[in-house]
Symmetry: C2
Subunit: 595 residues, 2 copies
């Protein structure tokens, strides 16, 4: 075999052969996708990363025929052969379908057992089985495609950013634990007994320090870690396009990011047209009920609080008098398309988000019917119709609750309806920037503020004084990039003044001592001539998922973890030798495992 | 300030201004490197990542003069000004020295305390202080240069490899602990109590599995982790250029790597000329005493075992009769340049490597003198002279010991002499491939074999049978790339047959059960049509160190760890909240820390 590889170098990829190659001798390496004996002629579908081609061994081809006769699926082989025309026998389903290769020489590099599932475009194999045999699942075309796209996106990202004078700088993975928000993954230190490193949730502080150092523009495609309770689309380790720039405004960062997105989408074969629409957080919540609006369809929320407050309907009036709001969605033509049963099913859906009920009414040419119709007189109905711009045949749905519940209920109902009603153009890519987020969220239960973005986010410069008088009202210089209703990136202009940073830490409930203990080095850095700076991070996994139209984030990661944060193939995490733990000065406690 | 950044965008970098810009209005952002008041004129040396330029504020320049008068070192500023000629007042030491900028408008973004050390090309500040204020140390030109070179090398690497059809694929950081050689860093799992992830020492198995998956060519610039006792040039986390290719021979891998090195060195401004010299491990040990020979100078080792064995000198004869060897180095002209004292100092040096003594003699035109001269008659002396190709004026030094000691002693003595005698061309880059390493090292004390490269390295195909009969003699298909006496990369053709892999595990003392428990998924993968494959990994940190002629590996890493594996700036690793440990089901034991 070594002699075969020394003598013969690949001339083409299987999937690249076309009519223009007819007559050429070719050398191919790859796998047997399928084989069949057809009256003394062996036909092989041979596969490599570029695709399939048919190879034929005839009984008069010296010793190769005998060997070819033994070939089974997934054997790894090399062949020397000649490209010939398939004449009128064209296979339309294959890009190589006009040609086939007559095998002259065959080398078997290795045999294969029968795989636990078939290697083909679509599989109905159980996902756990696929993850256990990940190296076989990765032979499937959709995963090959997604990961190769990912490789291309990486290069497009780096090319664009280096052209725009960004330096690629590496930040550490063994860092300090300063838990804010998500849990850290910890790494016990052997050399420093009793102490722990943390794997970074993001390189946030390091990239800010690189700006303090004068690197001017930084980027990195970098792994980040969060020990969160796992959801379907979460992974304990994930990849970010991480960026930071000095001497910039929000507009400067957006312009660079729009160019980056254009480069990435172009390399994936899609045309997009920045600049993207900009929507303030307040407007997004008002019109869409969520801070990551999907602009591919309408069904915008309409505020009818004022009308509802004087509508005569007791439920509405009470909610409004208690400071709640009433908003609704007009579903064009819904009067006919929605059965009573379908409408009834929407109520438990909004219940998930805390809404106590869903008020609805059908607007007919001869008046309203059903639902809450009976509570309103004609005058009130007309006011509603005007507010909703309703037409006969429409279905109106409304939620009355405190603002956060109304927004969440209707925002999610809108997304559901957009999908259910087929209003979403699956081919479209609709971007928007969401801006002017509040600096803080107030947690009523805990009686304290949390940073909406992170504690290093700068307030709007004209609102710095409000930090002392009315923190709730302060808007941040923060921005999210939203694509098709998913947040794909988020960032901010950072605080570059020590006094402001100290004030924000204080509002977040950190004592001076805690602030110094956790972030003293950052506070110090801010006293040595820190440039104004800002940046952003994009979630690479989700971006590739949207670009490749994959259904699961696990389909765009070479070796993903299961929802139990485990590697089903290698069986990580695993039990380790007690001697290893002893060296690390730690002991497992409270675990009883029967192994 | 925001309004300043909104209104004014950087027009040039400070360090880029030249005579051609005279007359232009420019907008600069950067730091005050120094300032001085010179009779009503304020002179500022303003610095950004591209260099320095002089800025002048005159007392008649509106309000800017007053503000400029307050400027101190390391304040972060923006200016609008006009480029003018410095006339005959050229500053030869600055690339911008023909011009200066008359400041029209000045914005102070932030002030700076007096830095703990001066920000300049060379500093005598203590390294611990520099590491504590890393964000300031990184403002120094040598570190800026090294890290920007590193960014360029990254791009050159990726461009070359993607042009050669490599896919950039990401492998996990939370992996399985299978300690072989170095210690793993462990990460306790919260979701899987009592179990641990390991941070990868290299993505070795994952990249092999990607070949099993048919990705054909893989690369990644990837962080790796080893919990080793630290030496001056080691870091707990380090970066590799990691590569793997299917359907290749050793020659194919070398050819690709030579092209990669050419791309990298070209981007750094150096011309190199592959192909590189190839030296077998045996030849390297024989001629240079080490497996990473420095080819920038001579002083090759000469084997004189045969002569020494019948020389009449009892020490030599006994060593040879016991199976030892005698080798030596001819130091041209050393007879005169080496005093008795200098020669005496070499003896303890070779003692470090286990040599019991250093035999020496001066070759004069009228015979030998000093050292061991008196033990040899003329006939033997002539034989030695012939073997060494000695000439009058030379100094001969010899070590007699078992092979490994003789090689280590003379190999390291050769390096020392090369440096001490000024034989090394500091500008030269001399590469060589070292090939045909033994598969195994036999540890006499433990009575077992260790893998010289790693357990996945393929034996030479013509020697597979020797695994059963004489494992010590089996050569591996392994290769190191050596530059100026440092190993900068190492790799191998891998085992792609399950039977061979099992046999190697067995020779390494792994029982069938242990092999399955640790590497079962790899053994399984080898049964599903694995292509022949091989690869290599280059140490990025050391490569950048050689390219940038830095003296410490810490000078080419943005945020390095100290020799205590700590981050002196952020104080990682740190003590963590006991609640964090409780969630992870672990407890610190045997540590008493007074904090």
């Amino acid at each position: 075999m070594v002699s075969f590889l020394s003598e013969f170098k690949r001339s083409h990829f299987c999937g690249d052969l076309r009519a223009e190659h007819i007559g050429q001798e070719v050398i191919l390496f790859g796998w047997v996708a399928s084989s069949r004996d057809h009256g003394g002629v062996i036909f092989i579908d041979m596969r490599d990363k570029e695709g399939l081609v048919q190879v034929r061994f005839e009984s008069d081809t010296e010793e190769s025929y005998e060997l070819a006769n033994q070939l089974r699926s997934e054997w790894c082989i090399g062949i020397v052969g000649q490209v010939v025309s398939r004449g009128s026998n064209i296979n339309d389903r294959l890009p190589t379908g006009e040609v086939e290769v007559i095998g002259k020489r065959l080398e078997v590099f290795s045999k294969s057992k029968t795989p636990p599932f078939q290697i083909r475009e679509n599989t109905d194999a159980n996902e756990m089985l696929r993850l256990e045999y990940r190296y076989l699942d990765l032979r499937r075309e959709p995963l090959q495609r997604a990961l190769r796209l990912r490789s291309k996106v990486n290069q497009a990202t780096r090319t664009y950013l280096t052209q725009n004078l960004f330096e690629e700088l590496e930040t550490p993975y063994l860092t300090k634990s300063t838990p804010e928000g998500a849990r850290d993954y910890l790494v016990p230190s052997r050399v420093n007994p009793g102490r722990f490193y943390a794997l970074p949730q993001s390189p946030q502080i390091f990239k800010q320090l690189l700006m303090v150092s004068g690197f001017d523009r930084y980027f990195q495609i970098v792994r980040c870690f969060r020990d969160e309770d796992l959801r379907a689309d979460r992974q304990p380790e994930f990849t970010q396009i991480d960026m930071e720039m000095s001497f910039v405004t929000t507009e400067d960062v957006m312009r660079i990011c729009e160019g980056l997105m254009k480069s990435i989408f172009t390399c994936a074969g899609f045309e997009i047209n920045p600049p993207f629409e900009r929507i303030s957080y307040d407007e997004a919540m008002r019109r869409f009920g969520v801070d990551a609006p999907d602009l591919r369809f309408g069904l915008e929320l309409v505020d009818v609080t004022e009308i509802a407050g004087q509508s005569g309907f007791q439920v509405f009036e009470q909610t409004v008098s208690e400071g709640g709001i009433v908003r609704g969605i007009r579903i064009p033509g819904g009067s006919e398309t929605f059965s009573r049963k379908m409408i009834d099913e929407l109520e438990p859906f909004v219940g998930i988000y805390g809404a106590k009920g869903l008020a609805w009414a059908k607007v007919n040419s001869d008046g309203w019917s059903g639902g809450v119709s009976k509570f309103f007189d004609d005058e009130v109905r007309t006011k509603f119709e005007t507010a909703f711009e309703a037409e006969p045949g429409d279905l109106l749905v409304m939620v009355a609750a405190k603002e956060s519940v109304t927004c969440a209920a209707l925002g999610n109902l809108r997304k559901k309806l957009g999908g259910d009603l087929g209003l979403i153009d699956k081919e479209a890519f609709r971007f928007c920037w969401v801006t002017d987020f509040p600096m803080f969220e107030y947690d009523e239960a805990e009686g304290r503020y949390y940073a909406m973005h992170h504690p290093f986010t700068s307030p709007r410069p004209d609102q710095v004084e409000l930090l002392d008088t009315n923190p709730k009202e302060v808007k941040a210089q923060a921005y999210d990039l939203v694509l098709n209703g998913s947040e794909i990136g988020g960032g901010s202009i950072r605080i570059h003044q020590e006094t402001v940073q100290n004030r924000v830490f204080e509002l977040l409930g950190l004592s001076k001592e805690e602030a110094r203990q956790k972030f003293g080095f950052l506070l110090d850095a801010l006293t040595y001539g820190t440039p104004p700076h800002g940046g952003i991070a994009f979630g690479m996994d989700r971006l590739i998922m949207l670009l490749s139209r994959a259904e699961s984030i696990r389909d765009v990661i070479a070796f993903p973890k299961t929802q139990r944060a485990a590697d089903a193939m290698s069986d990580a995490p695993n039990l380790v030798d007690p001697a290893q733990l002893e060296e690390l000065h730690i002991k497992v406690v409270g675990v009883f495992e029967e192994e």
